[in-house]
């Protein structure tokens, strides 16, 4: 039985990690595209329209990838997690079905119109189609986060005699106190990814001395949006989420912060250290006293329960992975604010476009928001362990009762192979689009 849970979790982790490379870009990019299109409508300078259309091409590639890797996600609930689907389908089926109904139809219909239909409509309508694509992609995020929020902090349900969770209050799914902070944090994080990608393409064009006019526009837009979203990521959205974890999942909070022992008074904040699960302490620790208590409760001396306060079966099952995921996310987030602050400062001084070290840094920075986004999701998912539905349904109780571990391993290997091919082709395609630039000479 242990194997099957391991392979099922690994398969879900692999397919969702790969999938989430794409939506985090499309959600953020759609807003930037709307911005470029809006600038074009106001200023009537072709450059802005070219920028909107160029990034819509990149959006479209990512959207396709998101669709084809997203269909397996929805199916996997049933194939690999049948018991979970049976027990909770009445509730999370609502939000997942709403995603299909209100988000995908909107997004896919108007994406086609935006890309193929510019000559068939007025510029204002073209702006509107772009806006609707943005709305669709953010609605998708909303419904997915609503689904996840229910798993993190179940509300509005009732448990029947046969163990099924059924919906008892529909609106509670959307007024879940977990939802709004998580949604905003997630969307701002998507903005960080896309701003960094836009800035990175800009830096590349400037450094390569090709499409320089576009390069400057992309870089400027990218770093300004990048700074704003990096700051919002930490405060208030990140802060708000951390407080939610402390309140609703105190065991996960202790694990992600790396607090093994409860302190008499205020809790320290860990900057660096490696969890030692044998001796139950952090090796090579660097920490600042009382800061965690202050950040979480605005009281220097407030006690925060450490992992020693919880039973083993209440704690997440992979504490080091959770701890590292959280610290990588927070560490990267801090670096993002620093780099983007510098970039905006040099932009303001009119020196950014000639300051090569910073341009190189920005160009190579783009993979890191992806890492931060994905580790952020690992924090949420590893932190929820050992539960699928926090406090109510264990992960081990959710797997398909009839599927053997041999079959799960087989499909996992298949997904790995297929997605490697997909990833390779994706890189080629995006590389080609960036190489062609906003105004391809041919055609």
């Amino acid at each position: 039985m242990e194997d099957i849970i391991f392979y099922d979790r690994l398969q879900f982790a692999f397919t969702i990690t790969f999938h989430y490379i794409f939506p985090q870009l499309t959600m953020g990019l759609s807003l930037l595209i709307v911005y470029f299109k809006w600038k074009y409508l106001r200023k009537n300078i072709e450059k802005y329209n070219d920028a909107a259309k160029f990034f819509m091409k990149i959006f479209a590639i990512n959207f396709t990838m998101g669709v084809v890797t997203g269909i397996p996600m929805e199916f996997q609930f049933g194939t690999n997690w049948a018991k979970f689907s049976e027990l909770t389908g009445s509730i999370i089926g609502q939000t997942l079905a709403m995603e299909g109904m209100f988000s995908f139809f909107l997004e896919s219909s108007f994406l086609a119109l935006f890309i193929f239909g510019e000559k068939l409509m007025s510029q204002k309508l073209h702006f509107l189609t772009g806006f609707l694509v943005f709305l669709g992609s953010w609605a998708s995020g909303w419904f997915i986060l609503a689904t996840n929020a229910w798993m993190q902090h179940p509300v509005g349900y009732e448990i029947l005699e046969n163990g099924n969770f059924v919906l008892d209050n529909f609106s509670a799914l959307f007024s879940n106190p977990w939802l709004l902070p998580a949604f905003l944090h997630n969307q701002v994080a998507a903005m960080v990814t896309s701003s960094f990608v836009v800035a990175s393409v800009g830096a590349f064009y400037i450094l390569r001395n090709k499409n320089v006019e576009y390069g400057k526009l992309f870089l400027k837009t990218g770093v300004i949006f990048g700074l704003v979203s990096s700051v919002l990521l930490a405060f208030p959205t990140g802060d708000w989420n951390a407080k939610n974890v402390a309140k609703y999942q105190p065991a996960s909070f202790a694990a992600m912060e790396g607090i093994f022992e409860t302190e008499e008074a205020g809790a320290e904040i860990i900057l660096i250290g490696q969890p030692n699960m044998v001796e139950k302490k952090l090796d090579n620790k660097i920490a600042v006293p009382n800061i965690l208590s202050f950040l979480t409760y605005q009281e220097w001396g407030k006690q925060i329960p450490g992992m020693d306060q919880f039973k083993k079966e209440e704690l997440p099952d992979n504490i080091p992975a959770l701890y590292y995921a959280y610290h990588i996310m927070v560490g990267l987030g801090t670096i993002f604010i620093g780099v983007m602050f510098l970039a905006v400062f040099f932009l303001w001084k009119n020196k950014l476009f000639n300051f090569k070290p910073l341009l190189w840094t920005i160009m190579f920075l783009f993979p890191f928001p992806y890492i931060a986004n994905i580790t952020g999701w690992y924090v949420a998912e590893l932190g929820r362990q050992p539960y699928l539905v926090y406090g109510l349904l264990k992960t081990s109780e959710g797997v398909s009762p009839t599927v053997s571990s041999g079959n799960t391993l087989f499909t996992l290997l298949g997904f790995v192979g297929l997605y490697m091919l997909l990833g390779l082709l994706f890189l080629v395609l995006v590389g080609k689009t960036i190489h062609q630039g906003p105004r391809p000479q041919s055609h």
Binding site: E74, G78, P401
Partner: protein, 357 residues
């Protein structure tokens, strides 16, 4: 309320097969009949422009099934584990081939992805038909061995095939001679549907030939249909009972046969859309007739110990279904608006159109 949601999910599923069905069919026709480069280009485009918005219907159907009939969703998706995952792989692979074929302008690259597109479309059509065949035939619910269930009564696990390839044994596999025949029917139906779509949406040089092809395929389809009706009686002897008890259900087979007969007159049809409507009726009638024949069962049990899954024993509670109906109505109205806008802006032949590229 269960009936209501059964109808809604069926409508969404039928929409998926009508819409994505034509681009599967386009792939099949492309594989066998497109020879000139210009035809290959435009025929691939007649699927490539639309496949992703068509596949959204599959996602919608999956979501709604999950919400309204969670027990059915859990049982069927885990029970048909391997074929479903293989279908997912084919969907991904087919999408790759459509998106990548035109990215580099040399022949070997295009030929490679064209074949991939054709073969994955063909296999998908076959697999979806096999899936339908499995649903109609039923499965060994509860994994009964010698009169004892191995799992809870609503779970099962099907191997891809068993050694006899027969639907009549106690442990049928996914692929047996009955489901293969349903798979072939689906393949031929979708090939006809795809050919009609190509004629409707393009000016390819094989349009004239395609009408003859549709006529010939339709003869094959008629023979297969009659044959399958016969063996369906062998597999499941009370398969026609519903139509006798509730005679109004006969409307669904009538829809199917209207499509079938209509297509024999393809050479005389004045408008291209008429042929497409007839093949749409084929798909609509075929799926709804299969569902109607079983109603209210949605997955028959092949043993006598565990009862068949029905819309009543797999549905969620009244509250969930009724609250979903409220947002469902709003959603469908919005969807209808999008479709009208899209149709008005992007109707007509694709090769005459300038999309600003």
């Amino acid at each position: 309320m269960e009936i209501f949601w059964f109808i809604i999910v069926s409508v969404v599923l039928v929409m998926f097969f009508i819409l994505d069905g034509y681009d599967f069919g386009v792939g099949i026709i492309h594989l066998f009949l497109a020879k000139k480069d210009k035809d290959k280009e435009v025929i691939a485009k007649s699927a490539g422009l639309f496949w992703d918005s068509n596949e959204v219907w599959l996602v919608a159907a999956g979501g709604m099934l999950f919400m309204a009939f969670p027990t059915f969703y859990a049982s069927v998706f885990s029970g048909f584990y391997l074929p479903l995952i293989i279908v997912l792989w084919l969907i991904v692979f087919r999408a790759i081939s459509l998106e990548f074929r035109s990215q580099f302008n040399y022949q070997m690259w295009k030929d490679m992805w064209d074949k991939a597109f054709g073969i994955s479309s063909l296999l998908l059509a076959l697999f979806f038909g096999i899936a339908l065949g499995n649903i109609v035939r039923g499965v060994n619910l509860g994994g009964v061995e010698n009169g004892v269930s191995s799992y809870e009564g609503h779970y099962f696990f099907l191997p891809l095939w068993n050694s006899s390839f027969s639907p009549l044994t106690e442990h049928p596999g996914v692929i047996d001679w009955f489901t293969i025949i349903i798979g072939l029917i689906t393949m031929v139906t979708l090939a006809i549907h795809g050919a009609n779509w190509i004629v409707l949406k393009t000016n390819s040089t094989i349009n004239h030939r395609l009408k003859k092809v549709v006529f010939k395929l339709n003869i094959i389809l008629a023979i297969l249909t009659l044959f399958s009706l016969g063996i369906w009686q062998v597999v499941n002897s009370n398969s026609l009972d519903n139509f006798i008890d509730k005679s109004y259900l006969i409307i669904f087979p009538i829809i199917y046969f209207t499509g079938l007969i209509g297509l024999f007159f393809i050479k005389k049809l004045k408008k291209e859309i008429h042929a497409f409507i007839f093949s749409t009726l084929l798909i609509l009638g075929g799926i709804t007739s299969s569902l109607a024949s079983m109603f209210p069962v949605i997955l028959p049990s092949t043993n006598t110990i565990n009862e068949s899954l029905t819309i009543y024993n797999t549905a969620t509670t009244e509250y969930g279904l009724s609250v979903a109906l409220n947002w469902g109505i709003v959603g469908f109205i919005l969807l209808f608006v999008y479709m009208i806008i899209q149709k008005r802006l992007m109707g007509g032949k694709i090769d005459k159109m300038d999309y600003g590229h």
